[in-house]
Every structure is written in C-alpha cells, then in structure tokens.
C-alpha cells in the first residue's frame, strides 16, 4: 500500500471518529493499530506493548503528575485568594488595577498550577465578584481572566513543554528557560493592552482605589512571597544544575506542602483530593501520549511521515509561508482539539519539515506552546472560555469569546514576534549555558 493511500485511510478514520466524539486517545490508538495492521497484519502488534512500556517508563514525564500535584496543593491552600488580594492592593495607584491584577495574578498562578482553566476559575472566583462590586466593565473583567489564564503554560514550569521535550527528545530546562522571556513579554503585552483600553475609555473602570496603609502594603508583599519563592526555588534549582526538572517538581511538591501547612490549608482531605486530581490529570494526558506514540509508530512504519515531509519540502515553501501555514493549521485545530492532543497529533508529521525549514527545536516548542494558548481562547472548544463562563453568572460564551478576542490577537502577534526575533526565546537558554 502506498503511503498516500495509507494517509487517506488514516485521515478519514481519524476525522470520522473525532467528529463522533470518540476519546482522542482512543482515536489515535485505533488509527495507529489500523495502520500497523494494514501494513503487516497482526505481526507488529507485539511492538505496541513495547511502545506502551517505553513511553510510560519515562523519568522526564514523571514531572507531569508532580507539577500537577504541586499546583493542586497550592490551589487548595488558599494562597491564590491572598495572592490576588495582595496584587490588587499593591496596584492601588494604577487605573484599572484589578484588571492588571487579573493578568499578573493569572500569569503567576497558572505558571505554578500548570492548569489554565483551574487558574482562571480560582482567580476568577475571587476577582469577578470584587470587580463587579467596584464597577469594572464586565467585558474587561472576563477578557482579562480568560486571557490571563492562558499565560501560565508558557511561563515555566510548563506541562506541555515537558511533554514536548519528552516526545522530541529536547532539553526540558532549555525549553523552560526559553519560555521565560516570551511569557513575560506576553504578560506585558496584555497589561499594555489593558492600559491602552482603559486610557481610551475610562468609563470601563472605577476611579483608583484608596491608598492602602503601610501595614496593608507590607502584608500584601508578604502574601505574594510564597508564590514568588516557589517559582524561584523550582527554576533556580533547575538552572543552577542542583536538580533535574523531575526532582524540581518533587521538591516543589514538598515546598507546596509547607506553604499549605503555613496557611492552614493542609488537611488529609485536601492532600487526598490533590493526589486524586493529579492522578486523573496525569492519566488523561498519558492516555493521549501512549496512543499518540502508537499512531506515530504507524505513521513512521507506513512511510506517511517521510512522505508528508517530502511533499512539504517539494512545495518549495520558504520558512515564512510555512510558518504562516502552521499558525493557520494550529489556529483551526485549536478550535476543536485540546492543546496537548493537537501537539501530539501533529508533531510526527510536521516536526521533520519544521527542522528542515531551519527552525530551532526549542523555538518551535515555545511557538507550539504559544499556539496551544491560543487554542484555549478560540471557540467552540476554548477551555478557558468555558471555565470563565461557568463562574460568570450566565454570561453567554459569545460575549466572553468576544471579550477575549484581543488577547487571542496578541498571542498570534507574539508568534510572529518569535519568528522574526527568535532571540526572545533562545537568548536566555544560550546565556545561561554560557
């Protein structure tokens, strides 16, 4: 069977099963198994067992449930509410301070929790009533919460980056480092957008809040410390070469437990729930990863991966048109498929061409994560939009999507900035190595 026929069969089965709501992992597994079977009957089936073992037995991927557990412990510790309140107080003199606090709070908190939706929910639950009470425009509030929640997966520690690194055999530490400056840049872009919006239409926000007392400011600074200390310990430990990313994640869990105990949020029930949620999140991710590797094996053995790469190469697209096509592809996929599945579905087909077009694997990883962020804001499957809708008290999804649209545009803009200025991502890892 030619690779073109194989690709056509895979594509039809994949799209049909995905459309009818079959679990994405199962779809990948079915297509992978079908591919292997069409190629050589059941002779290669035993290899699937080896694929499962070699994929799951990964010390790098152990970081995934550990980072999720760390975030779960912190989310249950009550630190999020204090952190947000502290930011709000520290930004008292800034017009639209709470909107800025949404962006900054979500960015920092999502970085730790590893879950954009959990962060949007946690910060949103605290922020939404407060901002409505103070008279903030609802569109601004909802947009900053949905958009801000996306920032976390770019700022390390980032679970999609760990998975990308494990799949393409890249350095987790380099990827984490490469995500720092783009993450900060996107946060600043969001904040600048909010500032411009507020300046052009002051009625969106109330007058600045009254100046807090010195004691309140000191307390606010103290309440931001745990989050800052946790991120510093994790990143510092990794970049100083003291611990591996997986060890940093386990160390982060230990620190999170101490922080939770300090704030009185450490109970047997909380720990048990955090463990349970971490196990489920990890299982969901691993179900996709394991099956994606089976699909990847089928794509490789049937020659589809090589064939697609050759076709793309023969089109003679320059790097920029190829990059534009990639952005459009991920924009469309992100509307329907979650980020990690989207990444695992496309990497086996696109990665060789990406390298052939001269992209640095680390830069591509960062751009991919930025595009995953975009997918969280694009309906009909924008997970952050759903999260914010669930706490908005009946606001329509369309309105939330519209409020988040400027942030989605800024995310696309960052992708192009990264293409034209790759140093934004690559400078820091190179500098740290030097």
């Amino acid at each position: 069977m030619s690779w073109e026929t194989a690709l056509a069969i895979y594509a039809v089965v994949l799209v049909a099963l995905l459309t009818f709501g079959v679990a994405i992992g199962s779809v990948m597994g079915i297509v992978g198994t079908l591919g292997v079977t069409l190629l050589s009957g059941t002779r290669l089936w035993p290899t699937i067992g080896d694929i499962v073992w070699n994929t799951a037995n990964s010390f790098t991927l152990v970081a995934v449930p550990l980072f999720v557990l760390m975030g779960e412990i912190i989310l249950r510790s009550g630190v999020s509410g204090r952190f947000y309140a502290a930011l709000a107080q520290l930004l008292y003199g800034v017009r639209g301070g709470l909107a800025h606090a949404n962006v900054a709070g979500c960015a920092m908190f999502a970085a730790i929790s590893g879950s954009s939706t959990a962060t949007a929910l946690t910060i949103g639950t605290v922020a939404l009533p407060e901002m409505r009470k103070r008279g903030y425009d609802d569109g601004l509030t909802l947009g900053t919460l949905a958009g801000g929640g996306c920032l976390g997966i770019l700022i390390p520690p980032s679970i999609p980056m760990v998975i990308y690194a494990a799949v393409v055999q890249a350095s987790v530490i380099d990827l984490f480092m490469a995500g720092v400056l783009p993450g900060i840049a996107l946060t600043l872009l969001f904040i600048a957008f909010v500032a411009v919006r507020v300046a052009s239409k002051p009625s969106l926000v109330p007058a600045t809040a009254p100046r807090p007392s010195r004691r309140q400011i000191a307390r606010g600074l103290l309440d931001t410390l745990p989050i800052v200390a946790l991120i510093t310990c994790i990143l510092g430990g990794m970049y100083a070469g003291v611990v591996t990313p997986t060890e940093a994640a386990a160390f982060g869990c230990a620190i999170a437990l101490i922080i939770a105990a300090f704030y009185g949020g450490l109970s047997w029930r909380n720990v048990r729930e955090a463990l349970r949620n971490a196990v489920v999140t990890n299982a969901v991710v691993m179900f996709v990863i394991v099956n994606a590797q089976i699909l990847s094996y089928a794509l490789t053995t049937s020659g589809v991966g090589r064939g697609v790469s050759q076709i793309l190469a023969s089109l003679g697209l320059g790097p920029f048109p190829f990059f534009c096509g990639m952005v459009v592809l991920y924009l469309i996929l992100g509307m329907f498929i979650d980020g990690i599945s989207m990444m695992l579905l496309t990497i086996p087909l696109l990665y060789p061409t990406v390298l052939a077009n001269g992209f640095d694997p680390i830069l591509f990883g960062v751009i991919l994560v930025v595009l995953i962020e975009l997918g969280q804001l694009t309906p009909p499957m924008g997970l952050n939009l759903f999260a914010i809708q669930s706490i908005s008290g009946g606001v329509g999804l369309g309105r939330i999507a519209w409020a988040s649209a400027p942030f989605a545009v800024l995310i696309v803009a960052l992708c192009f900035v990264l293409y034209f200025v790759p140093g934004l991502a690559l400078w820091l890892p190179a500098y740290m190595k030097a």
Binding site: L17, V22, G29, A56, S58, F59, P65, A250, R276, V280
Partner: protein, 177 residues
C-alpha cells in the same frame, strides 16, 4: 435517559465491584504518586546532605509512574475525563447520541483489547526470558510490566460495560416506540 458526564462520555454511575476496583486502582495510583514525591526528595537530600544516593530513585520513579498512569485510566474514563471533540456530539440527543457514545465505547474497547494483548506479550516475554533492568537494582522487568495487561484489561471491561449500557438504552428507546 442516560445522563452524560462532564465531557459527554457515558456517565455510567460506578457501582458495586466495578466502582470499588476502579477507585482502588486510583487510590493505589495516588499512593504511588506520594511515594514518588518521597523517593525523589530523599534522593536529593541524600545527594546533597550525605553525598550518597538511593541508586534507584530514577528507575523506581519511572516504574511507579507507569503504574500510576495506567491505574488511573479506569478512573479517568469512569468520570468522563478523557479528552474528546464535543462540537458535534453535544448537539446530538436521544438515539443518535446513544449511537455516537456506543461507537466511542466500542472503539475504546477495541484499542484497549489490542493493547492488552500486546502488553501481555511484552510482560510474558520479560517473564520467559528473565529480562532484568540494566540499573544497579537489576529488577526483573516483568514486575513493573505486570500492571500493563491488567490496567488495559480493566479498561476493556469498563468500555464494554459502557457500550452495554448505551446499547441497552438504544434497545429500550426502540422498543418504547
């Protein structure tokens, strides 16, 4: 009417033995995750505090990770957590929804069945040839690999049950007409 789970997966209310086994697996996975946290932190403390090593932290963290990942599949499935594209399915109601969910459950069962078979072969090969890890612990690999056929076989059972529930719902609707 059979309710749908948070992500539209069949929200088969876990009851009796199925529920106990699935929850038991998830609890065991949670314990293993906690063990990984302890093991990795002990390794770091030993390395920098005592200039020593457990010599098995990386290896056993990997094994525990295999167990916790695979044992969590059933619980994730039962709670409708597996990711899927819901744009069309959410718009379906009645028999068409049941048919789509039945299709998903059958597809899941097929994949899980093939994977169970393949994993059983991997496990048996390690058992038969006495394969050991190349790490200092020289652990017989059939021990950590034993979870693979068990976890996927359990997934087959759960998918088959979900398929049976959907098929029954379809039949009930048809006979109701």
């Amino acid at each position: 009417m059979i309710p749908d789970g948070p992500t539209g997966e069949p929200a088969v209310a876990p009851v009796g033995r199925f529920d106990r086994v699935t929850r038991g697996f998830a609890d065991l996975a949670g314990v293993l995750l906690a063990l990984v946290v302890v093991l990795v932190n002990v390794e770091v403390v030993l390395r920098y505090g005592f200039g020593s090593s457990t010599l098995l932290s990386d290896e056993y963290s990997g094994y525990f990770f295999v167990w916790m990942s695979l044992l969590g599949f059933g619980y994730a499935l039962e709670n409708g957590q597996f990711l899927r594209v819901e744009a069309l399915v959410e718009r379906l109601h009645g028999p068409s929804r049941d048919a789509a969910e039945l299709c998903g459950a059958v597809a899941g069962a097929i994949v899980a069945a093939v994977t169970t078979y393949a994993c059983a072969l991997t496990f048996l090969a390690s058992w038969k040839y006495g394969t050991h890890s190349i790490q200092p612990s020289s652990t017989p690999l059939w021990i950590p690999q034993s979870v693979m056929p068990v976890a996927f076989a359990w997934l087959v059972v759960l998918y088959a049950r979900a398929a049976a529930v959907r098929a029954r719902a379809l039949l009930v609707r048809r006979s109701g007409r």
